[in-house]
């Protein structure tokens, strides 16, 4: 009788907790979505930055022409005259996701534009990502930790920076795919279910579709498998979690055109194959051990080890041969710079020139993961008490991602979920300890707490935090007699939690200390929330194509980029080619719909070097280079008038370096005075005569009479000069974008062409123009 009553009570409480955690998750989703809308509210619903414009353009093409045309798309509006095979060189996950969203909405007659769908894809997927984090952390340390981790992830600044509304980039969906793949891996590991293993392979496939960072998964999971084997944690569940993933995952990955045979040919994937072999060997050993008597087994071991060594040597030899013969000679440039941080800056200036490939600074850790940085160690400790397969995985995850984030600032993004999971575990565990201590010492419930400390704590904890309550659900789950429970939750039988909790109950801290600690933790959380909201609102929401500044007379908007792109798109011929530094390639093709020479997909170094060389050459040589590329307009970004620091003059040294890397007549020292980069009167003549200098500062002196550059904070070196081969056709309102047109070549006099070229003196040219004027038809 009494037993049924208590079971009724727990069932009710369990149902209540379930509903509550459902609503908390819903709110977390809303939070994750809405915290990313600052950019829309403060600015506008617009695609941000550079790469998102390319993705947006691809999505437009996809929705307009369908999936088959998309796979076969040869883009002739970029990398002129080479073009680019978009279908085979792009990670299609993001595009297909947004395209599907658009298609669903429109088939429901909800006429949202492609742009709107693209803008809001990232916030939607961050909501998904926080739910995936909940699932993953729940598998590792229970629902309480899961909810805390989900809240933390919903507003971790590092992830916000990549997924604000409008930041339509691969990472937006990839982080969700990453966490979800890890969740399914852990789920398979905990349950040993082939169903989840298959799902895991599919999630991995989605990740491969979405982002080049999938190699992180295919290296991290084998590492974990190896770790499990080495620490003697091999089980059939581990086999089921890993083997199908490698087989199915590799097959599926090679279906993605951009990966293709790389899935078996490049060394980023070799680790997984090696571990695949090892796990089979181990499985065989365990199997044989099971069917043989111990004595026989010893004999077998000696036999196998001797043969095995030979086989191993052979396999290693084959692998080495494969690595050596693979097309990229092993590792690709970006991956190599991961292993050796100095690799890129030494050998590939084009990778080093991207700011997000630089190693991060210490403040950026505080900026991007904030208090999580302090909670992570606590989380790691919590993961060791007790260490399970799942918790060892997250420990491995955090350790590797900390290393990678230290190499490349962009990979901070991979660290963020790991940090959130760890901090969630830490917060949840500490709240658990503190609230239990308080509960234990409260006079009213003292007697009861001995029997059912876990359950009585729930009321008090709900007010504080959702953590402890859902923790109890976990416990209650196992006792619930309903068939639903059995069906869904039997996988939890393996969880080593029951014993651990009994141990924890004995951990009782002083009453006052617990209260103060809880207050401090809440304060810490509050600080994190404040920081995240500030980061979302102030630091990461600027779309970078429109700039704003506050002055004494209010808000001032600098919309020069779109002014220039709009001008190009409406007032030039459709097939005109526009040359600019590669940063603006994606935006030019997407916003101005004009053919560009190079763009942000920096696949052809020579081509970029050609443009770099033209920019660093004197006017005539530059004109010849551009003319050979059919360029009609040259676009430069100039911040000297309004003080916009990331303009072409500041990027100019990279143009020189990249250009000089391919064309040796461009030498970096020619542009530096005593190793210093300067554009004032001390600058070298090469610098003052190069095209970039001239196009940037043409007639700049007429604005204020002194030609004071507000970015470099100096007066420019050469103020009055004329352009002979270029003419200014458009300059935006704040001079941030200047567009020049190549002047057509002068008509040649028949028969005299060779002669006049050999002695290009001013007299011949004037004579020529005179004859021209007399008879323009000859």
């Amino acid at each position: 009788m009494a037993a049924s009553e208590t079971s009724n009570g727990t069932a009710l409480r369990y149902a209540f907790g379930n509903v509550l955690s459902f609503f908390i998750l819903l709110l977390i989703g809303v939070l994750a979505f809405s915290i990313r809308l600052f950019s829309v509210i403060k600015y506008e619903s617009v695609i941000h930055e550079f790469d998102p414009y390319f993705n947006y353009r691809v999505t437009q093409y996809l929705t307009k022409n369908g999936i088959y045309d998309f796979w076969n798309w040869f883009d002739d509006r970029t990398w002129y005259p080479l073009g680019r095979v978009i279908g085979g060189t792009v990670y299609p996950g993001l595009t297909l996701t947004a395209g599907t969203l658009y298609w669903i909405l429109n088939s429901l007659n909800i006429p949202l534009s492609v742009e709107t769908v693209c803008v809001f894809t990232a916030p939607i997927f961050s909501a998904f990502a926080s739910w995936a984090t909940y699932l993953l952390t729940k598998e590792v340390k229970g629902a309480g930790a899961g909810l805390t981790a989900a809240v933390l992830l919903a507003m971790v600044p590092s992830y916000i920076s990549r997924s604000v509304a409008g930041s339509y980039d691969n990472e937006a969906v990839a982080i969700f795919a990453l966490i979800f793949t890890f969740f399914l891996y852990i789920k398979t590991l905990n349950t040993g279910s082939l169903f989840y293993a298959t799902l895991n392979a599919i999630a991995y496939f989605y990740m491969v579709c979405s982002w080049g960072g999938y190699t992180f998964i295919i290296n991290l999971i084998p590492m974990h498998v190896l770790l499990c084997i080495v620490t003697g944690r091999y089980s059939s569940r581990l086999y089921i979690a890993y083997a199908p993933l490698v087989v199915l995952g590799t097959l599926l990955a090679s279906l993605v055109p951009v990966v293709g045979f790389n899935a078996v040919l490049t060394s980023e994937h070799f680790g997984s194959f090696l571990v695949f072999i090892i796990i089979h060997v181990v499985a065989l050993v365990y199997y044989i051990k099971g069917i043989l008597s111990p004595k026989m087994f010893k004999v077998a071991v000696t036999l196998v080890v001797s043969i095995g060594l030979v086989v191993c040597c052979a396999v290693i030899a084959v692998l080495v041969a494969l690595v050596a013969s693979s097309p990229t000679k092993g590792w690709s440039g970006r991956s190599l710079s991961l292993l050796d941080p100095t690799y890129a800056s030494k050998y590939i200036p084009i990778i080093a020139s991207v700011s997000e490939h630089q190693p991060p600074t210490w403040p950026s850790y505080f900026m991007d993961i904030n208090v999580l940085a302090f909670l992570v160690p606590a989380g790691i400790i919590a993961c060791f008490s007790p260490l399970s397969d799942a918790s060892s995985f997250v420990v491995l995850y955090i350790v590797t991602s900390v290393y990678f984030s230290g190499v490349m600032v962009r990979l901070m993004l991979v660290l963020a979920p790991a940090a959130c999971i760890m901090s969630g575990i830490a917060l949840s565990a500490s709240f658990d300890v503190f609230t239990r201590s308080i509960k234990f010492q409260l006079p009213g419930v003292k007697g009861n707490s001995q029997v059912d400390a876990g359950d009585t704590s729930s009321e008090g904890v709900v007010a504080q935090n959702e953590v402890a309550k859902t923790y109890k659900n976990e416990e209650a789950l196992k006792e619930r007699p309903s068939k639903k429970n059995r069906k869904k939750e039997k996988e939890h039988v393996e969880k080593p939690s029951v014993k651990a909790q009994i141990k924890k109950r004995l951990l009782v801290l002083p009453f006052e200390a617990s209260i103060i600690a809880i207050l401090l933790l809440v304060l810490l959380g509050a600080f994190y929330v404040v920081h995240s909201v500030w980061a979302a609102a102030e630091a990461y929401s600027a779309p970078s194509i429109v700039l704003t500044s506050y002055s004494h007379d209010g808000l001032h908007v600098f919309d020069d980029f779109r002014e220039a792109y709009s001008w190009l798109s409406h007032n030039t011929e459709v097939d005109d080619k526009v040359a600019s530094w590669w940063d603006y390639g994606y935006q030019t093709t997407a916003m101005a719909n004009r053919t560009v020479i190079v763009d942000n997909n920096t696949w052809n170094n020579t081509h970029i070097a050609t443009v770099g060389t033209a920019m660093s050459s004197p006017e005539k040589a530059a004109w010849e280079i551009f003319d050979s590329l059919d360029v009609k307009y040259v676009l430069v970004v100039f911040g000297g008038l309004v003080g916009y620091p990331s303009d072409d003059i500041n990027k100019f040294l990279w143009m020189v370096r990249i250009g000089g890397g391919v064309f040796p007549h461009i030498k970096e020292p020619d542009y530096l005075r005593d190793g210093q980069y300067r554009i004032d009167s001390q600058a070298t003549p090469t610098m003052l005569n190069c095209l970039m200098y001239k196009l940037s500062y043409y007639r700049f002196v007429e604005t204020d009479g002194k030609a004071f550059d507000r970015v470099r904070r100096t007066e420019i070196g050469k103020k009055h000069f004329k352009l002979t081969h270029f003419e200014e056709v458009f300059t935006t309102h704040h001079w941030m974008v200047r567009i020049y047109k190549l002047k057509p070549q002068k008509n040649r006099i028949r028969g005299k062409a060779k002669k006049s070229r050999s002695k290009a003196s001013s007299t011949t040219s004037t004579k020529r123009s005179e004859t021209q004027r007399k008879n323009p038809w000859h």
């Binding site: 506008e44 007659n109 639903k484 779109r562 709009s566 001008w567 007639r699 604005t703 300059t731």
Partner: protein
């Protein structure tokens, strides 16, 4: 190409008087003669407005009910609007009575002359006189010359017309006044007597001109007014019976003046605004109906931040700046959208139908719309749409699917070419609508969610496990 055409036109026109002497029109009643004609041509903007005052006398014996106006074929193509009114009453109590004007074909019209007939309310009986005021508007009739100008030059244009009013009737006495925007007049054809005073050029008075007389003149003058032409304007008016009228206007704007040549120098444009880019324009004014809310101004790549909306209870003015100043030949596209309170525009007619009363034409001040399409999106489930427009337009129906529509919304499409600000007169779209349809979408959503929850509840009670 255009220049060539116009040269040919001039040649043709100069032959006209000759020919007209040979082939006298016989179908037009000779009972009518014009006692006095005064024509005032306003050339101050790029839209040419001609005010014509005709004093008509019936010298025949039978009453005449139609007066014909003649136009040379080159002008007819650019004719946006012809309005006529009869003057009634004496000096002090003078009032105007609008008359119907319709294009008509007359047999043996010399050299493709086109006619418009003005139908008089009361036929003009023998011996009577009547004063008719005619207003007609010509677009694209100022031809820039030189065709291309640089940033520092000002824009000069040609205007072609006849010193003598083209008319199928004898004109006893006539005068033509041309008003130019500035005193800067390069040249003009002299047809004595010709006078020039300030910004006004006077041709005439000429006396006793026979029918279809023609004397081509060319006036070459400075006109730096913005030649803002909307090449295509699509206005979409979406009616929601929940209380909102949503207007979306897609503009394709162009500067139709002398083409910009060579360099555009921002430093000159900014430092010497008085003589650099004088013919360019950088802002436009849109007159919107009162009560405008949630207005936006954007183009395909995002919001354009340079706009100001001024609202007061009587009118709303939206001042917009395209992303860049428009020089001759430059183009730009943008979208303006705004919402209006429904009760100001939607009414119920006595026969139980509803009608939308909205203004036709382009809201931008002083612009020509080459092609205007108005799409009135009626609410889902409305029937029997019909449009009443005060001038001839092309009409057809379309279907549009918007938020969660199932049967689609009926769209009444009205198309008109060559629209000038004078076309901003109200038009009506009548339709019948059952209020029940308003509830269709909320009910649909509610039932979808209801079934979703029901399915979930059902799922919770189903056990699909194989082993018991």
């Amino acid at each position: 190409m255009e220049a060539q055409l116009s040269v040919r036109a001039i040649l043709l026109l100069s032959l006209l008087p000759l020919l007209s002497l040979l082939a006298r029109s016989s179908s037009v009643s000779h009972d009518i003669q014009i006692v006095n004609a005064e024509r005032r041509i306003d050339l101050t903007s790029h839209i040419v407005k001609v005010f014509l005052t005709l004093k008509v006398e019936n010298i025949g014996s039978s009453p005449v009910s139609d007066i014909y106006l003649a136009f040379p074929p080159t002008q007819v193509d650019h004719l946006a609007l012809v309005k006529a009114a009869a003057t009634v009453g004496k000096r002090k109590k003078k009032s105007y009575l609008p008359l119907g004007v319709n294009p008509t074909e007359l047999p043996d019209a010399p050299n493709g002359t086109k006619y418009f007939s003005v139908s008089l309310v009361n036929p003009l009986s023998a011996g009577e006189t009547l004063t008719i005021e005619v207003l007609y508007i010509l677009t694209h009739s100022l031809e820039p010359f030189p065709v291309e100008i640089s940033q520092s030059e000002s824009q000069l244009v040609y205007y072609h017309d006849s010193a003598i009013i083209l008319s199928p009737y004898d004109i006893k006495k006539q005068t033509t006044f041309l008003k130019t925007p500035s005193t800067k007049l390069e040249s003009f054809t002299k047809v004595e007597p010709t006078n020039r005073a300030g910004t006004e050029l006077k041709y005439g008075p000429y006396e006793n001109q026979s029918p279809h007389s023609f004397s081509p003149v060319i006036v070459h003058f400075e006109n730096n007014n913005p030649f803002a032409v909307v090449e295509e304007l699509v206005r979409e008016v979406e009616i929601s019976h929940w209380g909102n009228l949503q207007i979306t206007e897609h503009y394709k704007l162009m500067h139709a003046g002398a083409r910009h040549k060579g360099v555009f120098s921002r430093v000159e444009y900014q430092s010497k605004p008085s003589f650099s880019g004088v013919s360019s324009f950088k802002n436009l004014l849109a007159r919107l109906p009162p009560g405008v809310h949630s207005a936006y101004y954007r183009d395909e790549i995002g919001n354009i931040s340079s706009s100001h909306l001024r609202t007061d209870p009587w009118k709303s003015e939206l001042e917009i700046e395209p992303r860049y100043p428009l020089f001759g030949g430059w183009k730009s596209t943008f979208i303006i959208g705004y919402g209006l309170p429904l009760q100001d525009f939607l009414f119920e007619s006595p026969d139980g139908r509803r009608y939308l009363n909205f203004s036709f034409g382009c809201p931008l001040v002083e612009t020509v719309a080459d092609k205007l399409t108005i799409k009135v999106v009626l609410p889902e489930g409305s029937k029997d749409p019909s449009a009443v427009v005060p001038f001839p337009v092309e009409q057809h129906l379309e279907t549009k699917y918007s938020y969660l529509d199932i049967v689609g919304r009926t769209v009444v499409v009205l198309e008109k070419r060559n629209v000038v600000p004078e076309h901003n007169s109200p038009f009506q779209v009548y339709y019948t609508f059952n209020q029940v349809f308003m509830l269709a979408e909320p009910l649909m959503l509610a039932s979808v969610f209801f079934f979703l929850f029901v399915t979930y509840v059902a799922y919770l009670h189903i056990d699909l496990s194989i082993r018991k």
